[in-house]
């Protein structure tokens, strides 16, 4: 068991592509850290640098107290689970699991004991004599896990281990891997492009974009206090609504102007964004999550704005409304986000041909008609403010 530390790590490939720049990150002993980001953001490269499968261009990576830049994979005492499992097709499940131990010349008794322990933990006992091709996807995934845990390494590295499973199995394995990691207490770095996996599994989540680490925080903090526009747009399904807006003075308070409506921000309610007063008279980007948009009739004392309902999807427990309000939507390029709805995917109302730019959760069974105007109120305690130029949160 050990902590993993990135210090000013760069990765430049031979063809000049900079995959990771100036990455500094401390992963604590026993922590489950998820690296998340759209494809091509450098998360897998970062993981492979820890594994020793990719050379480090500059900076240092250390495992425990030891800088591992010049160590080969086998001397780093790590185990890796690959997306396609990389099971050896010519070996049985037992031999697959024992492969690393055999290479380390462990005694026969120890190998047998360890394999049985891992197989028991992963419910693989009945399949030990089978070949990988005779197993289901979930079983193969567990064999890959078994191969990783059996050596009891200092660090687990997992590269999108659930992407090849169907949705139902993925949810199940998600919980199994989380439990296993808690049980073993081994430091784990888990790479995924699926933000649901990131939110549900990680002790902390590190969001990456274009090779740069954007924010590292526990899942809830990431959701509540995104450090910049990218994180705000990437984390959360549906993604946060982001609009061009303006900060203005409002008597003693400050207010944000959205769609022509001045929404007053009581001083005690914008504690998350202390830099807000500096932006009076300037344009900013306002963010509001779908669940913080309410029907005005349910919040009669809140300032309300008018939107036209383009589409209403009833989910049973709630309804998702897609509205158009008179404001400019800020689109964040978070391509390849898994299940999230991207701005260009928002449904359009063909009859009146207006583009919806705001997503809101409404209570179930609330009667609303598409194509009509709806009064909505924003929860001023949960608004997010970002610098229009830099995209940084005004914290």
């Amino acid at each position: 068991m050990a902590e993993v530390r990135f210090e000013h790590v760069d990765k430049v490939f031979d063809n000049g592509v900079k995959a990771v720049s100036d990455m500094t990150l401390d992963i604590r002993d026993g922590e489950f850290l998820v690296l998340v980001g759209p494809s091509g953001c450098g998360k897998t490269t970062a993981l492979r640098m820890v594994a020793g499968l990719e050379a480090i261009s500059s900076g240092t990576v250390s495992i425990g107290e030891k800088i591992v830049n010049d160590l080969t994979s086998k001397d780093r005492d790590i185990a890796m689970v690959f997306q396609n499992y990389a099971l050896y097709p010519h070996l049985s499940v037992a031999d697959n699991i024992a492969f690393g131990l055999r290479l380390r010349k462990e005694s026969k008794e120890k190998i047998a004991k360890q394999v049985e322990w891992a197989a028991k933990l992963l419910d693989l006992l009945p399949y030990l004599d089978r070949r990988p091709k005779e197993l289901s996807g979930g079983q193969r995934q567990r064999v890959a896990m078994g191969r990783a845990i059996v050596r009891e390494p200092k660090v687990f590295l997992m590269d999108e281990p659930l992407s090849n499973l169907d949705a139902k199995l993925r949810v199940q394995m998600r919980a199994e891997i989380s439990n296993l990691q808690k049980q073993l207490g081994t430091t784990t770095i888990y790479v995924t492009h699926d933000q649901v996996e990131a939110m549900t599994m990680g002790d902390r989540v590190a969001v990456m974009s274009m090779g740069v680490l954007q924010q590292v925080a526990p899942p809830q903090e990431l959701y509540d206090e995104p450090a910049n526009l990218f994180v705000a747009g990437f984390i959360g399904t549906p993604p946060m609504n982001l609009f061009d807006a303006r900060i203005e003075k409002d008597d003693d308070n400050i207010a944000v102007v959205l769609a022509g409506v001045k929404i007053s921000l009581p001083a005690d309610r914008n504690w998350r964004y202390p830099r807000l007063p500096d932006y009076v008279g300037r344009n900013i980007v306002l963010g509001v999550r779908a669940e913080d948009v309410h029907a005005a009739e349910t919040k009669p004392h809140w300032p309300a704005i008018t939107g036209r309902l383009g589409l209403l999807e009833a989910l049973g427990s709630s309804q998702i409304g897609y509205l158009h309000i008179d404001a400019t939507k800020v689109a964040i390029s978070t391509s390849a986000t898994s299940a999230s709805t991207r701005p260009e995917d928002l449904p359009t109302e063909s009859a009146s041909s207006f583009v919806t730019n705001l997503v809101a959760y409404f209570p179930p069974r609330m009667a609303m008609k598409t194509g009509t105007d709806v009064r909505i109120a924003l929860d001023t305690a949960n608004l997010h403010f970002f610098d229009a130029q830099t995209g940084e949160a005004l914290r």
Partner: protein
């Protein structure tokens, strides 16, 4: 008259083509078989159905007749087998090592090397004969074992012959083995050599057996290079020796020739039986996939 239940009526011409093809393919070997058992020693006099059957031709290959010439058949057979086995083994071994490097490592000259090998393959082997003769002649002055009339020299020449096409075949197959397997083994603690022996080679058995089989059969049947390099009858390989039965003036011995040919085919047939399941999969996987 078209009767949908009787497809023979519609497709009789296809059967005709099939049987024609079978006849064309089968007749020559059939001739050899009957010649081997025919009591007559002349080709012109022999017919497809021999007038008298005999095993004398086979016996003559192994037992020296009283007052007759010395019999080398067993010796030739042994030489051919040894050379074929060694050639198959080394072709597979050296080829697999090179193909692994070309498939997995990125080094200066990798592309050039592959292209160059392909280019070499485009020249017909016959063009090299003069050069090979001269090279072996000169090498023999320094290293006698690699000189003319030496089986070791022949083996070395054979090894160089089909290496490039085999290498491409194996590289194509190795490329279809996911690189994650190598990486996974590396993380598990395997050295490149352990990855090669423990992971890649076991998975490449189909292509290795195909390449090995072709090298084996090819060597067993090779005539031209052997005829240039080997000089004395005691050093001959089987094809050369068999040719001697019919190549000498006034003393053509077609019966012995045919009997020898039949026996010579046995190792190849056995080999094909063992690897036939891989031949299709090995060829398609190596060349189409990846």
């Amino acid at each position: 008259m078209s009767d949908p239940t009787n497809r023979y009526n519609d497709h009789w011409w296809r059967h005709l083509v099939v049987w024609l093809a079978v006849c064309v393919a089968v007749l020559p070997p059939l001739y050899v078989v009957t010649a081997a058992f025919n009591a007559d020693q002349t080709l012109s006099g022999s017919s497809l159905i021999p007038r008298a059957l005999t095993l004398e031709n086979f016996k003559g290959l192994f037992v020296q007749k009283e007052g007759g010439a010395e019999v080398f058949f067993v010796r030739w057979f042994r030489s051919s087998l040894i050379i074929a086995v060694l050639n198959a083994f080394f072709t597979v071994f050296i080829g697999a090592l090179a193909a692994y490097a070309f498939s997995r490592f990125r080094f200066k000259g990798r592309r050039m090397g592959m292209l160059f090998l392909l280019l070499i393959q485009m020249f017909p082997g016959l063009l090299n004969l003069v050069a090979i003769y001269l090279i072996v002649l000169r090498t023999g002055e320094v290293v006698p074992a690699l000189g003319l009339n030496k089986l070791t020299a022949l083996l070395v020449v054979y090894l160089s012959g089909a290496m490039s096409v085999n290498l491409w075949l194996m590289k194509g197959f190795f490329d279809s083995i996911p690189a994650e397997l190598d990486e996974s083994a590396r993380v598990d603690g395997a050295t490149p050599a352990q990855i090669f022996w423990g992971v890649i080679l076991p998975l490449a058995v189909p292509v290795l057996s195909v390449v090995g089989m072709f090298a084996f059969v090819g060597t067993l049947n090779e005539f031209i290079t052997a005829s240039v390099l080997l000089e004395t009858v005691d050093n001959f390989t089987l094809p050369l020796g068999l040719q001697a039965y019919v190549g000498t003036s006034y003393e053509e011995n077609w019966g012995s020739f045919a009997a020898g040919v039949l026996i010579a085919q046995i190792p190849a047939i056995i080999g094909f039986v063992f690897v036939q399941k891989y031949i299709i999969s090995g060829l398609t996987q190596g060349s189409v996939k990846g």
